[in-house]
């Protein structure tokens, strides 16, 4: 079984849900005897995954834009992420400098660069063309694409080779924009990819339902495969500390609901007379300046900390230091960070509009907008050791059940359906 897989990110550079999923999936597919050729937009990829052929695609030779000859035109490991598209993030060259950035879970974000020659739409087109060109020389039985950014290439490859196509949807444009100004051109790429795919893998039932409802997908060809976690990577010995800590980690975008985290923080701090607690907002994104301002307006100065980008190792430390992990997402297709926090023995409060809430029980589930209820649960966890002990004991075991090897095996089942 030979799989041609088209991706966008891969750890260690980037690892949002998609990047982590692709890395673990290819690794575990290889361990299950599947030959994977993985394409990603990076010149001379030097990431090594045993048993996986990684092809870093350089679009250099094939560019059509005005600045095709520009030296800096190199998608490279960092610059573009399909997740960081604020309305003004790729509208054209800006004066910001281009540097690798990442959110709390280490995910790279698009930052425009002074010399950045092409708009984002063109960049995607170029990437896809390059992928098609190089992939046609490979041998494979199934094409497997992840999210919209690789779908045009995947569809074209299907049409030219007649091989079956699988598309995994880690998030939709509606999720990423929290339904605020979804980009029609991205939605149409997604719609076409989902329509042309022989099988669609959704990371939750919530995503599956959305694909049926908003994209008119045929629900008979959708399979739900949940994400997983390597629990041992998140465990550290308990440490003594003077102060309690409540953690948010994720891109600072409307999708992730960081503003609801701040509002909950305000409710907690107003209620507790002597609050010995700090709120940590970990991650980066276009809402950062706005959130900082909001925190000041709410009078949270000194009680809320913004870490900006932090490397994965530090995030693991934060999970372990935290007394509560909150995922207040407006629309979260899955939510791997929840499993990570659970593995680190931290109690979690999660939004009901998250895929992970379909499959875990040892947690609190709240509406993302109900910040008073969020505060009620935060205070209760901070106050009652018995609650914390009981929940984390069970949640740690629960997280163990989400195994990447099972994800790979379930994915192989989907491959088999098409062969």
């Amino acid at each position: 079984m030979r799989i041609l897989m088209l991706g966008w990110e891969f750890p260690p550079y980037v690892s949002g849900g998609l990047g982590r999923h692709c890395y673990e999936l290819t690794r575990n597919l290889a361990a299950n005897g599947v030959k994977v050729t993985f394409f990603m937009p990076k010149k001379g990829a030097h990431i090594h995954v045993p048993g996986v052929e990684i092809v870093g695609v350089s679009p250099k030779h094939h560019t059509t834009g005005r600045h095709a000859s520009s030296k800096s035109w190199d998608i490279g490991p960092y610059p573009i992420s399909p997740y960081a598209l604020g309305p003004y993030m790729y509208s054209g060259p800006t004066t910001e400098t281009h540097k690798p950035v990442s959110n709390g879970s280490g995910e790279a974000l698009l930052e425009t660069t002074e010399n950045y020659p092409l708009n984002f739409f063109e960049a995607v087109q170029v990437y896809n063309k390059s992928v098609v060109r190089e992939a046609l020389g490979k041998k494979f039985d199934v094409i497997h694409a992840h999210d919209w950014i690789t779908m045009p290439a995947a569809v074209e490859l299907k049409e030219r080779t007649g091989k079956p196509l699988i598309v995994t949807v880690h998030s939709t444009e509606y999720d990423r924009t929290a339904n605020i100004y979804p980009m029609e051109w991205i939605v149409s790429i997604e719609r076409k990819g989902i329509e042309k795919a022989d099988r669609v893998i959704a990371v939750s039932k919530m995503t599956k339902d959305e694909l049926v409802k908003k994209y008119g997908a045929d629900d008979k060809k959708i399979r739900v495969i949940y994400n997983a976690v390597n629990p041992y990577e998140y465990k550290q010995p308990p440490q003594k500390k003077k102060e309690k800590m409540v953690l948010f980690a994720g891109r600072l975008t409307n999708q992730k609901g960081p503003v609801f985290f701040l509002r909950a923080a305000k409710e907690v701090l107003e209620h507790e007379k002597d609050p010995n607690v700090k709120f940590v907002v970990c991650g980066k994104g276009d809402l950062l300046p706005q959130l900082i301002e909001e925190a000041i307006h709410m009078g949270l100065t000194g009680k809320v900390m913004f870490t900006g980008y932090i490397p994965d190792d530090d995030l693991v430390r934060l999970y372990n230091m935290a007394d509560v992990y909150v995922l207040p997402s407006v629309s979260e297709p899955f939510g791997i960070t929840v499993l990570e926090a659970m593995a680190a023995r931290t109690p979690v409060i999660i939004s009901k509009t998250s895929g992970v809430s379909e499959v875990i029980k040892h947690c609190f589930k709240v509406d993302f907008w109900d910040t008073q209820e969020m505060a009620n649960k935060i205070i209760s966890i901070l106050k009652h050791n018995s609650l914390k002990k009981c929940m984390t004991k069970n949640a740690e075991k629960e997280a163990d059940r989400f195994d990447w090897d099972n994800v790979a095996k379930d994915t192989i089942k989907v491959y088999r359906e098409l062969m």
Binding site: H362, S386, L387, M391
Partner: protein, 392 residues
């Protein structure tokens, strides 16, 4: 020639109101308990279970002279009085047939027997007072909350003047022996009636289980099983809500119950006895030793359904610790509230064993999760403690 002792536990908890860390009670009795919700649940279960089952059993007593044994928690009767007094009348009718025996239990359906002999006795006294007031009845036999039983509890209950006590027929105390006989504890002379859990749960739990190889269970098949039993008595103890609530009408449970007496009547060796008739008819055959508390809950048959995790033990300890403050306050109303908060269901909702696996406890839980249940209960306990301290 075993006789059949059918016993029903009738109980409805008084459920709590949604109470957050931001909530404050003006009047604990009204603000801690969700009276609208309780009325809604109670009305539903009257329609589904109490009304049809009482009517059916009244007619069966009339036709087949069957004998039945009940105990009703005080919190059930308190809600009946409030919401559906006709349910009490219907039970009074049952008692007036002379074929129905009533047992005592703790008024509050609490775990008081586990922590304070004094408190336990007071709650039992409240219950027997209610039996006298509502039914003109003085119970001779005792059934503790969730059939909690130990040597110590048996001794205490005997000292209070009871002649018999109900318990779970668990292997832990029986070993190879049959539950179909009377036993005594090692330290006293009270008669112990042991639940035949296999035959009881065939009705209470397995009746509608399609994967059970005996499904569907018919009255004639069940009567033949009863008849095949050796011993003095087959003790069928179960929640009264089995009929119409745990097993819905659509499962055929009422048809089963309706035909059971006539099917049993076909066997010469079978007859019905109340719990008192049972202990008066037979001599105990041996001793059961239960140094640790037993219950009739799930497969563990111990305390773990109420005190199995840290949250449950935490809340239970807090309730216990309030005893002093409550006594110091001396307020009748606040004492009543404190005791209503002791109803075992409040702790049961915090149970995490098997919860993630889905069913096992086929039991109505008004909370999204045991953790939500804990937060609500703990918030009320915190508010109540503040109130008690403020009142001093």
């Amino acid at each position: 020639m075993p006789s059949i002792c059918m016993y029903f536990e009738v109980h409805q908890p008084i459920r709590l109101r949604k109470f957050t860390v931001f909530s404050k009670a003006e009047n604990p009795y009204y603000d801690y308990f969700d009276w609208d919700k309780n009325k809604k649940y109670f009305s539903r279960i009257v329609a589904k279970c109490y009304a049809p089952t009482n009517n059916l059993l009244l007619s069966l007593i009339d036709e087949y002279n069957i004998k039945l044994t009940y105990s009703m928690s005080g919190v059930f009767l308190e809600q009946s009085q409030k919401f559906h007094p006709e349910v009490i009348e219907s039970f009074q009718q049952l008692v007036s047939t002379g074929n129905v025996e009533l047992l005592d239990e703790t008024y509050y359906h609490s775990l008081a027997s586990l922590y304070s002999e004094n408190e336990f006795k007071e709650q039992v006294k409240s219950h027997s007072g209610l039996m006298k007031d509502l039914f003109g009845y003085k119970p001779r036999i005792f059934r503790n909350t969730e059939a909690l039983y130990s040597n110590d509890i048996a001794k205490t209950v005997e000292n209070m003047g009871y002649k018999g006590i109900l318990a779970e027929g668990a292997e832990k105390i029986l070993g190879w022996r049959s539950p179909n006989y009377l036993y005594t504890p090692p330290n006293s002379n009270i008669r112990v009636l042991l639940r035949n859990y296999k035959l009881s749960d065939d009705i209470a739990f397995r009746f509608s289980t399609h994967s059970w190889k005996e499904h569907p269970l018919t009255a004639d098949k069940y009567a033949s099983w009863l008849s095949a039993n050796e011993g003095q008595t087959v003790n069928l103890f179960m929640d009264y809500e089995t009929f119409g609530e745990h097993q819905w009408e659509s499962t055929g449970i009422f048809e089963f119950l309706k035909h059971l007496p006539s099917e049993i009547a076909k066997y010469d060796n079978l007859s019905f006895k109340t719990a008192s008739e049972t202990i008066d008819s037979y001599e105990p055959v041996g001793v059961v030793d239960s140094p640790y508390p037993l219950s009739w809950a799930d497969v563990d048959r111990d305390l773990s359904a109420w005190l199995g995790n840290d949250m449950q033990r935490d809340c239970f300890d807090r309730i216990k610790r309030l005893e002093g403050l409550v006594k110091e306050n001396g307020s009748k109303d606040l004492t009543h509230v404190w005791r209503l908060l002791q109803t075992s269901d409040h702790l049961y909702y915090l149970c995490t064993k098997w919860w993630a696996d889905g069913d096992v406890h086929k039991y109505f839980n008004p909370y999204d999760s045991p953790y939500d249940a804990f937060v609500n209960y703990a918030n009320i306990l915190t508010d109540f403690e503040t109130k008690l301290k403020g009142n001093l």
